[in-house]
């Protein structure tokens, strides 16, 4: 048996690990810049699929299917991102005689549509955010909605996304004006002037339920994850279990998720996302029809291997665990390590990783897509690795995260480790007192720099003394020029200066 991984980075490595433990051969694909990436080094065989831009490599269905055929692969795993939620690709994979490691294309298409999935969730009895199921056709519909549900409400452009095309209305007098502007903005930005209305969920938490279903109709939920620490709608830190979900709420969330799974004839892994409001009410948000980045925290807490389970399910095997066997133990936290500089407005930081000292010891897992000397290319998502800690309880997991961060040393690229080191010292983070807007608010307030400066206050003077000693020791020698890696260094230096003028000339 041979499985082709239509992906790169840490998730390709994760899938190779699962296959190796299952005795399944692995076929890696790589773009020109990824020839020596860990997923290529680890796979049993590997095939080039074109130049760096994803559209010409990892997103090129024809090339992927050609490699599948040439390599004799029987299965194809899309990972997450790239083509993972592309139902057309899933259909082409199946038409080529391969097993698609994912849900049926029909379910992918259904749950991939905002309107359809919302209707399905409603019909399955899952709570959805009160709102009109169809676009507003005139102002009186909107007024009727506000009469019934009150203010504030959220006006959303049908074609919007990623936080754009949304407008909050808190004052009844502004209703008409806001509606008009929302329509014209939608037209201007997205070429579609239609607008929905929903009740605004204030300071919500993002809670998602991991579901697993087989082809025979068996389905379970494997607890929930809390993913409220987001930057610009991208998850940054995730936890399992949610600090605010108890057994009773877990059961209700799980059952709501399973109702959706059953109503959509879903099988394979999936994630049903909910918003949880400050009153403890939850609402269906969307479903992700793939393996999730943050699956490891669920694995740690429930003691299961989701990727192996996903492959077994694709092969037609029945679910290997029953609901009552899924008992959580302890608490897990994941931090996404990106090649970005949090102190320079998250400027991307590609380059060569010259030092990569990983944390280890009890309760520390690292799922990494790089090793020492790896080059982080410009062309893809800048996630380098996921640091996952587990401990018997949340307070200990926080301390362990702090400890693991203190051991993690990376040179050559800037990383979001700086962000996590500041976060882990914050009372609000330690007390789980946050919502989906927490991090963006923190970042715009400038408090991150302040927090960073408060850690280890003597460090700056020690750094200055160390630098003076190093300069003394190297005086008369050529500069080590450790920043310089051919072409990589000039832009780094220039970029740093230009972005914020902080790096010395």
């Amino acid at each position: 048996m041979k499985l082709l991984i239509a992906n790169r980075g840490e998730i390709a490595v994760r899938i190779i690990r699962a296959c190796r433990e299952m005795g399944i051969g692995t076929v890696a694909v790589y773009s020109e810049v990824d020839r020596l990436a860990p997923h290529v080094l680890m796979a049993d065989s590997s095939f080039p699929i074109g130049p760096a831009p994803a559209a010409q490599s990892y997103l090129d269905m024809d090339k992927l299917l050609a490699v599948a055929s040439e390599s004799g692969a029987n299965l194809l795993h899309p990972g997450y991102g790239f083509l993972a939620e592309n139902a057309d690709f899933a259909e082409r994979v199946e038409a080529a005689g391969l097993t698609w490691v994912g849900p049926p294309p029909g379910a992918m298409r259904l749950m991939g549509s905002k309107t359809e999935s919302r209707k399905l969730a409603k019909s399955a009895g899952a709570p959805i955010i009160p709102g009109l199921m169809e676009p507003i056709t005139n102002i009186s519909e909107l007024e009727t909605f506000v009469d019934e549900h009150g203010l504030p409400v959220l006006l959303k452009a049908v074609a919007g996304g990623g936080g754009k095309g949304m407008r909050v209305v808190a004052d009844r007098d502004e209703l008409a004006g806001s509606y008009e502007r929302a329509c014209s903005e939608g037209q201007a930005y997205f070429g579609d002037g239609r607008v929905y209305v929903e009740r605004l969920v204030d300071s919500p938490r993002h809670i998602e339920v991991q579901v697993v279903a087989d082809r025979e109709g068996n389905a379970v939920y494997v607890g929930e994850r809390e993913c409220s620490i987001q930057r610009r709608h991208q998850k940054v830190v995730e936890e399992c279990p949610s600090p605010v979900v108890g057994p009773e709420l877990r059961k209700r969330l799980g059952e709501a998720a399973l109702a959706i799974v059953k109503a959509s004839s879903y099988h394979s892994l999936g994630t049903v996302e909910f918003l949880l409001d400050t009153n403890g009410e939850f609402f269906f948000l969307e479903m992700n029809t793939r393996l999730q980045v943050e699956h490891p925290i669920t694995e740690e807490v429930f003691g299961v291997d989701l990727v192996q389970e996903q492959i077994k399910l694709a092969l037609g095997e029945p679910l290997s665990f029953r609901q009552e066997e899924l008992v959580p133990r302890g608490h897990a936290i994941e931090c996404r390590i990106y090649a970005e500089d949090p102190l320079r407005n998250f400027a991307p930081s590609p380059g060569r990783i010259s030092l990569w000292v990983r944390p280890g010891g009890p309760g520390v897992r690292l799922d990494s897509g790089v090793i020492a000397e790896s080059v982080v290319p410009l062309d893809y998502d800048p996630m380098l690795a996921k640091l996952i800690v587990w401990a018997p309880d949340r307070a200990t997991a926080m301390k362990r995260l702090h400890r693991a961060l203190s051991e993690f040393q990376v040179r050559g690229v800037s990383t979001t480790l700086t962000l996590f080191r500041a976060l882990v010292g914050m009372e609000a983070f330690r007390k789980a007192d946050f919502h989906t807007g927490f991090l963006d608010k923190l970042l715009t307030s400038g408090d991150l720099e302040k927090l960073h400066g408060q850690q280890d206050p003597e460090a700056e003077k020690a750094a200055m003394m160390a630098a003076a000693c190093l300069a003394t020791a190297s005086a008369g020698r050529l500069p080590d020029d450790l920043f310089a890696h051919g072409d990589d260094s000039s832009w780094w230096y220039e970029g740093t200066r230009l972005l914020h003028g902080r790096f010395p000339r």
Binding site: E340, S406, R411, M465, A466, R497
Partner: protein, 167 residues
Amino acid sequence: MRWVVRGGQSSHEVEVERQGDEFTVEIDGQRHELELVSLDGAVASLRFLATGRSLQITYHHGSNGSWRVTVGQREFDLEVLTPAEAVEAVSAARDSGPSRLMAPIPGKVVGVKVKPGDEVEPGQPLVVLEAMKMENELASDQAGKVAAIHVVAGDTVEGGELLVELE
């Protein structure tokens, strides 16, 4: 040796005497006896002889006296200059002429936030560049007036390409 060490907002005069791995450092009027030994040119151990306090440091040596040093969990970009270099650097900054904003990385221009003739403040975004699946705001590092803009939204640019000139 005598150094001017600059980082963030502060600047310190530092006097260092070296004997092998041991250093006597005077900073802000205080003397410290230190030991600094390097594992491999990137990781080193800094130890205060008086207290035994130990710090693992990692470091990179850039050009023009720039050092990036991590101590504990914090990272610092520092300049270590001879007193003569320090004087020169100050006057160079004072006399800085027209400024040119160049693309720090290859990418796609997704927005130009200013037009010729605009007065800009330090830190004001000039161009938005998409790279690594992210939008990155390129900001001015000084006040000035926009003299020329060399790109429009939609352009693909190489690293180092000139984007905006200030006068």
